[in-house]
């Protein structure tokens, strides 16, 4: 079996760290936008404005998909150790 991955990880021990922080920051960014959307949708509900509610829902839905997709790429620092066996 190739030990490419393992030697890569050894050469760049900070990589998982950076990835993890990057993903978490992206997620927080996405969530902030979603909160903003939700807030404006609620505000517009008072005015019975359906268009904005639909637009913000679409935006929020797409952002949620993006965040699910991002989660798939979460690095697991323990992975190398499990797979070795």
């Amino acid at each position: 079996m190739s030990d490419f991955r393992e030697s890569q990880n050894k050469a760049h021990p900070n990589k998982t760290n950076t990835l993890m922080t990057g993903i978490i920051l992206l997620l927080i960014f996405i969530i902030s936008i979603q909160i903003w959307f939700l807030y404006s949708a609620l505000n517009n509900a008072l005015e019975r404005n359906l268009d904005i509610a639909i637009a913000t829902f679409l935006g929020s839905f797409v952002l949620a998909l993006v965040s699910f997709w991002l989660i798939r790429y979460l690095p697991d620092p323990r992975e190398g150790k499990i797979k070795r066996k």
Binding site: L27, Q34, N43, A53, F57, S60, A64, S67, L74, K85
Partner: protein
Amino acid sequence: MKEKNQEIFSETWKDDFPIQQQEAVHVSRREFAKFLGLLSGTLALGNAGIIIKSILFPSQKLKGEHFVCNQNEVPAGGMKQFELQLDKTIPYILIHLKDGQWRAFEQKCTHLSCAVRYVPEMDKIQCPCHNGYFDARSGVVLQGPPPRPLPRLDVILKDGKVFVAEMKNKT
């Protein structure tokens, strides 16, 4: 030591039933990130909920004409409070402007729902809570924190009686 580590990491059930209390309360960054993803899904659901609610349960509209009072009960420059019983009770004010026109607005300020009142000296509607002012003719915000104009009703005069109805042409 290496052997031992391998053993611990390969048994995933130990993640869910840790032996040490320290491990039980520990939240890894992975878990935190997954939680953020969950939160993001929930927010999207919340947005969907708003749409569903506004399609399935639209707020009830005033049907037909609603009798308020006799025309001579409100002098020019005067104001009268009345209530409409829709899906909830909503307070309204009827205004007899000094030039003889009539207007009806919801009494709840669009800022934080204080009761607004008509001030004949200024010919404006005032919200005393944070000094918001609305135009007495259109309900448009003139000054202060309110974000939206006051919801308005049509006023219909018929042989000395005052009726209100849902606005026909929203402008």
